[in-house]
């Protein structure tokens, strides 16, 4: 049996696998052409409204796919999915767009994705390479650059979506001060209240992940979204059942205690949380003394040790 299964128990793998299965199954269903329902997310209508407004005013739409951690990741990619929808609309009405990227890999991807959009809309001539920009990969230089841009360009709409940290409010307030419509969403729970305070429309929590499913209406996304719902429902159910079961168990008493991989009999005492069924499942306590002896590599396959005098 592997160390990792001793540490986390099979349960972790099982639960992860279950949720993965849920997601894949629903994607499969959706791909099968089954019409699946997803609820309207308030605030999404705002996207079209914002772009429309920008078109009337002939001012640019600014899009910021968040900070990201040095390289491109799923969150910024998700933001790009939403932005490709926005730029699709913008491309139709020839509304100028600016996408501000915080790292080079994201810039490379955005550059390609957005150009694809213009190409698909058959207006590649309208695409300006400088509308997708690398601002800075340094958090606050990025913030300074974006706010400067927003102020000078007098942006009519700002989309702040993805991984935002402290800079969230700098950008939101600046955009607000030039009277831009703002649609915002941060995967960082801690920033959401500030978006709520400063922006017109906010996508909370994983509404952000739901958004692109709703906009793009790709079967894959819709299916995955439903799979996620099943996952959430499943977790909620586990918590509920777990709570009831252990609450009842705690009323009783026990004469057994599970410790370091063994069940020991002990004098009767009231149940502790650690004795309950769920707690035991979730906290496997492997025997730390498991030993396995294997043969060793011959010394000549090891790098030559440094002479002693060099080591203090």
């Amino acid at each position: 049996m592997g160390q990792q299964y001793l540490d986390t128990g099979w349960l972790g793998v099982a639960v992860t696998a279950t949720i993965v299965a849920f997601i894949l199954f629903n994607i499969y269903r959706a791909r099968g052409g089954k019409e699946l329902f997803i609820r309207r997310i308030p605030g999404l209508t705002a996207i079209d409204e914002a772009v429309g407004r920008a078109t009337e005013m002939g001012k640019p739409v600014v899009m910021v796919p968040g900070l990201g951690d040095g390289t491109v990741n799923a969150k910024s990619l998700q933001a790009l999915n939403i932005f490709s929808y926005v730029s699709r609309v913008a491309a139709k009405f020839a509304t100028p767009i600016i996408v501000c990227c915080s790292n080079a890999s994201l810039f490379a991807l955005a550059q390609e994705v957005i150009r694809d959009v213009y190409q698909q809309e058959g207006v590649l001539d309208r695409y300006d390479m400088d509308s997708v920009r690398f601002i800075s990969d340094r958090q606050f230089a990025f913030a300074a650059g974006v706010s400067g841009l927003v102020l000078r360009q007098q942006a009519a709409a700002a989309f702040l979506m993805g991984e935002f940290y402290a800079e969230s409010l700098i950008m939101a307030e600046t955009a607000n001060s030039v009277g831009a419509i703002q649609v915002a969403s941060s995967t960082e729970t801690t920033q959401t209240p500030f978006f709520i305070a400063a922006c017109d429309y906010v996508l909370i929590g994983d509404e952000f992940y739901a958004a692109s499913a709703y906009l793009a209406k790709q079967p894959v996304l819709v299916g995955s979204l439903i799979g996620q719902d099943w996952g959430k429902a499943f977790l909620g159910f586990c918590v509920l059942v777990g709570t009831l079961v252990s609450s009842v168990q705690l009323l009783g008493s026990t004469t057994q205690e599970f410790k370091e991989g063994k069940m020991n009999t002990i004098p009767e005492r009231i149940m502790k949380k650690s004795d309950t069924f769920f707690s035991r499942m979730l906290n496997p306590d492997p025997d730390p003394k498991i030993e396995i002896t294997r043969e060793k590599y011959p010394a000549d396959q090891l790098p030559t040790p440094a002479p002693k005098e060099t080591i203090k």
Binding site: V72, A74, D137, G148, T189, A197, C238, K272, S279, A306
Partner: protein, 247 residues
């Protein structure tokens, strides 16, 4: 005029310059903004080699020797493959081969997504465990948990291990909060059923309490950083450098 004075004064100027945008966008701000962006990108170029590629790529690829010139770390040749892979990214500007730039990105995203699957349980398992709370009182001796000050340790331990009605209620609120907030984020269920509708609304209210609390504790930090800036300007620069007084 010694070096420290110049350095600190420049820092103060830069600070004031950036602050000036609070009043309105102006040339002074624009100047410092561009200095900032220039320095940031330049610095990124510097640390690209000195802090990232040198230590995590070049040295690992060639291995290292300790002071006496003996091998102390083996070199891994596989790293060499990363250079051509990195170069593929530069095809993004090519009309014909831009798709190749998707390969390095694909690798980065692949590793990222693999780890999402790896770490999911590590992060949420313990939280699920902790969310399972006793909601039935194990003792009705008193409604509230008795105070423990001035009691013997074992008595304290006994009180702490008992679930009093008040705690049971608290725990119920906890579980209800968790579940109703989660229900708010169910997208595929049609909110026709009154029951679900109510829980989601409740969920949204409870969310707002959470956000309020977050706002509260964030304010502390933001103000602290401003205070620190003011400390830099008034105490470290003005008082200690300009007036030459002890802090």
């Amino acid at each position: 005029m010694d070096y420290t004075f110049i350095k600190m004064t420049l820092g103060v100027l830069a600070t004031v310059g950036l602050y000036s945008v609070l009043y309105r966008e102006n040339k002074f701000y624009r100047f410092w903004e561009h200095v900032f962006l220039g320095l940031a990108s330049g610095w990124a170029l510097v640390i690209l080699w000195t802090e990232t590629l040198k230590s995590t790529w070049w040295d690992k690829m060639l291995g290292a020797t300790n002071n006496s010139g003996q091998a102390s770390v083996m070199g891994y040749w596989a790293y060499a493959a990363l250079l051509p892979i990195g170069m593929m990214g530069y095809f993004v500007f090519s009309k014909k081969h831009n798709w190749i730039s998707r390969i390095p990105i694909g690798i980065i995203l692949g590793m990222y997504s693999g780890q999402q699957i790896q770490v999911w349980w590590n992060r949420f398992g313990p939280q699920i465990d902790n969310s399972i709370k006793p909601i039935l009182p194990t003792s009705t001796a008193s409604f509230f948990k008795p105070g423990t000050s001035g009691l013997a340790p074992d008595a304290v331990a006994k009180i702490n291990s008992t679930v009093y009605p008040s705690q049971a209620i608290t725990n119920i609120i906890f579980v209800v909060t968790l579940l109703s907030v989660m229900s708010y984020f169910l997208f595929s269920f049609d909110i026709k059923s009154k029951m679900l509708k109510n829980t989601t609304t409740l969920g949204r209210w409870l969310l707002m309490i959470g956000f309020g609390a977050i706002f509260g504790s964030t304010v502390m930090m933001r103000f602290t950083l401003l205070i620190d800036r003011m400390y830099f300007i008034w105490i470290e620069w003005f008082k200690m450098l300009v007036l030459r007084q002890p802090g």
